[in-house]
């Protein structure tokens, strides 16, 4: 077993470069921790990485996104992943939960537990993380519109099991801006939604020092069809928008910025992806220091999670996806990611099967432990092409920032709001998606197994994970039981406090949300309460 933590000081300067006997090539040649001239990894503007030693000091976290069926089903998958060597949890919620609707809502019919795990009340969260020590594992929760409610549930589950909130480590996606631009899982309009985001930022800064309150996500923007440069630009613009919103809410930039994290896609064009990741770090460092006045070094360091490109996976000859995922994962690692999810090869067909998930995790383990790429920091740094691509990504992103600044009259936050309201982001993404489809259709781009090399597809071999109607029936019973066993008067009282807090923009909603979920209010009840105050967002349907 390879020790992933050498105990070295991650932020030590790169002055003394001495070969370390533990780091040798397969043939036995000693390898230095970094090559080339400064600025080195760990040095501003962190183009080459946020840590001096990068993966020598700590490997990336192998964090596999999982969620399906009931909480009990997903709990079993979590335990299997931890047993198989996964080093963090990542929770996928089903569509009704993501949209803040209970499993017994009309809209939930046919969607309960299908594309993620169904969570209605804190009791589901208890089962979801049963037998897992929340004081030691780090947990990511992919949820946005109702994110503060799910965070409150996680805190309550931990506290009821004896783990104090300050010991909880993990990440809440809680990135609502990209929902309006790309993923479309919003509930309330943008402005009150951003208030919810800053409420979470203030709450975790004060009470959960190990928690990342927002994972500013380009992943979904890219999946929706954007280019790499658009993914980079829109994501960082959203990041700047949250910084401006939090500062406007009265927070000091260095109080929250060290805990902002990012989430990028890793697609097929290898060097474009590596350039994108490197440019992201450089842009963030410059903007945070020069424009937003951050002085804490941690505020300047862009840390990110990577997921391989689900949209690149093909339903045809799905085994070929294993190769795609490996190459995309390698780009993430050579781009300096802090954590990584590798997609399963059967994801263009259905939710990933357990066997396919294991292959995906093993792919990361091969990269980490067999290829030697983790032995030296930023091994691609100094390549003329990679450096040029990094510069080009930065240049293209800066063009977008200038456009948004114009739209917002000097404010990125207002520029992002304007771009959402006018459908500019969605239009840019749809244009890029259609351009790509036309190129594939015209044969200008080869997709192996789809428009070339199509022989050898064998649908009979596929074993898919199916979520049956029994999941929905079971979840409806669980929800009915919780509703029956709880104190309805107490729930009503806590929901009244949520309504009251929502009506006062300067009050942080988190304490009221914690009370409500502790009383076993459902996700849907809390969302309905907030919706009564905040309203509902309906996008302009543009093609």
């Amino acid at each position: 077993m390879v020790d992933s933590d050498t105990g070295r000081d991650r932020d030590s300067t790169a002055g003394a470069l001495s070969p370390d006997d533990r780091y040798r090539t397969l043939s036995g040649i000693p390898v230095d921790r970094v090559y080339g001239d400064g600025p080195l990894p760990g040095e501003f503007p962190y183009t080459r990485g946020v840590h001096a030693d990068m993966y020598r000091s700590r490997l990336w976290t192998m964090r596999m996104f999982a969620g399906f069926g009931t909480a009990t089903d997903t709990n079993a998958r979590f335990r299997e992943l931890l047993t198989a060597g996964g080093t963090g949890l990542s929770t996928a919620f089903d569509m009704p939960t993501l949209m803040g609707r209970d499993s017994d809502h009309d809209w939930a019919l046919g969607e309960v537990g299908r594309a993620g795990v169904a969570v209605d009340t804190v009791e589901d969260m208890v089962d979801l993380y049963a037998g897992i020590d929340l004081g030691t594992v780090s947990t990511s929760m992919t949820i946005n519109g109702p994110a503060p409610i799910l965070l409150a549930m996680y805190v309550v589950v931990a506290e009821e099991s004896g783990v104090a909130r300050e010991h909880l480590g993990g990440t809440l996606q809680n990135d609502i801006l990209k929902e309006y631009q790309a993923q479309k899982e919003y509930v309330f309009p943008p402005r009150p939604s951003v208030r919810l985001v800053t409420d979470v930022m203030a709450f975790t800064a004060a009470e959960m020092p190990r928690w990342n309150p927002v994972s500013i996500s380009g992943y979904h923007i890219r999946e929706a069809g954007s280019t790499a440069a658009q993914e980079l630009a829109f994501t960082l613009a959203n990041g700047f928008a949250y910084v401006e919103a939090a500062v406007a809410a009265g927070m000091d930039v260095d109080d929250f910025a060290p805990r902002l994290s990012f989430f990028f896609n890793s697609h097929n064009d290898f060097f474009e992806e590596v350039g994108k990741f490197r440019a992201a770090r450089r842009i963030w460092a410059h903007w945070m220091r020069d424009r937003y006045g951050a002085t804490d070094e941690r505020s300047l360091k862009l840390r990110f999670h990577t997921q391989t490109a689900g949209v690149s996976l093909t339903a045809q000859q799905p085994e070929v996806n294993i190769a795609r995922v490996a190459i995309q994962a390698l780009a993430g690692v050579l781009g300096g990611t802090q954590s990584l999810h590798t997609d399963s090869y059967d994801e263009a067909l259905a939710l990933p099967s357990e066997d396919a998930v294991r292959v995906a995790l093993r792919t990361q383990q091969v990269i980490a432990h067999e290829t030697g790429v983790a032995n030296t920091a930023d091994p691609l740094g100094g390549s003329a092409y990679v450096e040029w691509m990094t510069d080009e990504m930065e240049r293209r992103a800066e063009e977008v920032f200038a456009h948004l600044e114009d739209l917002g009259g000097g404010s990125l936050l207002e520029g992002v709001y304007a771009g959402i309201d006018s459908g500019w982001f969605a239009g840019e993404i749809a244009d890029a998606a259609y351009r790509y489809e036309r190129e594939v259709n015209a044969g200008e781009r080869i997709v192996v197994g789809v428009n070339a090399f199509t022989e050898g597809d064998n649908p009979e071999r596929r074993r898919l994970l199916r979520i049956g109607q029994d999941t929905e029936d079971l979840q409806l019973k669980r929800l009915a039981t919780v509703r029956q066993d709880r104190d309805d008067a107490a729930v009503a009282a806590t929901l009244a406090r949520v309504a009251s807090a929502a009506a006062q923009p300067t009050v942080n909603l988190m304490p009221a949300l914690l009370e409500a979920v502790r009383a076993r209010a459902t996700v849907g009840e809390v969302v309905d309460t907030l919706e009564a105050e905040f309203g509902t967002y309906v996008e302009r349907a543009v093609v």
């Binding site: 569509m95 009704p96 993501l98 949209m99 609707r101 809209w107 939930a108 019919l109 046919g110 969607e111 299908r114 594309a115 929902e179 993923q183 479309k184 899982e185 999946e223 929706a224 069809g225 949209v311 093909t314 339903a315 045809q316 263009a348 067909l349 259905a350 939710l351 993404i429 749809a430 998606a433 259609y434 489809e437 036309r438 594939v440 259709n441 997709v447 789809v450 428009n451 649908p459 596929r462 898919l464 979520i467 109607q469 309906v538 996008e539 349907a541 543009v542 093609v543």
Partner: protein, 133 residues
Amino acid sequence: MDGTPLRVVLAKLGLDGHDRGLKVVARMLRDGGMEVVYLGLRQTTDSIIDAVEQEDADVVGISMLNAGHLTLGPRMVEALAAVGLDVPVVIGGIVPDEDLPAMAAAGVAGVLGPGASADEVVACVQAAADTRS
């Protein structure tokens, strides 16, 4: 065909917000000479039926990437039949091959999966329209 372009109502039925595929299909159909009425996200069978009646649509296309097709597909077909509309339904999204017989049995006129080309999309919708009695 009698020379007038087909009118196709496109919608996301249910909560799923993945609209990349549906938007691409909308443009493919337009480029293929059809008229597209794009309803967008979070539509219900009722809102889709309203649009079909108002727009006198020939085909309904619904998209889902959340494994809800076995529930929502037949529901759309039944809802149209219940109000006496003879309008075929095409489903786009992640529909495993083994579900195709169930989709056909439920009266779904066509299924479009990942990687469908523009020609396949147009042909599928045209074929669905041709099934109208």
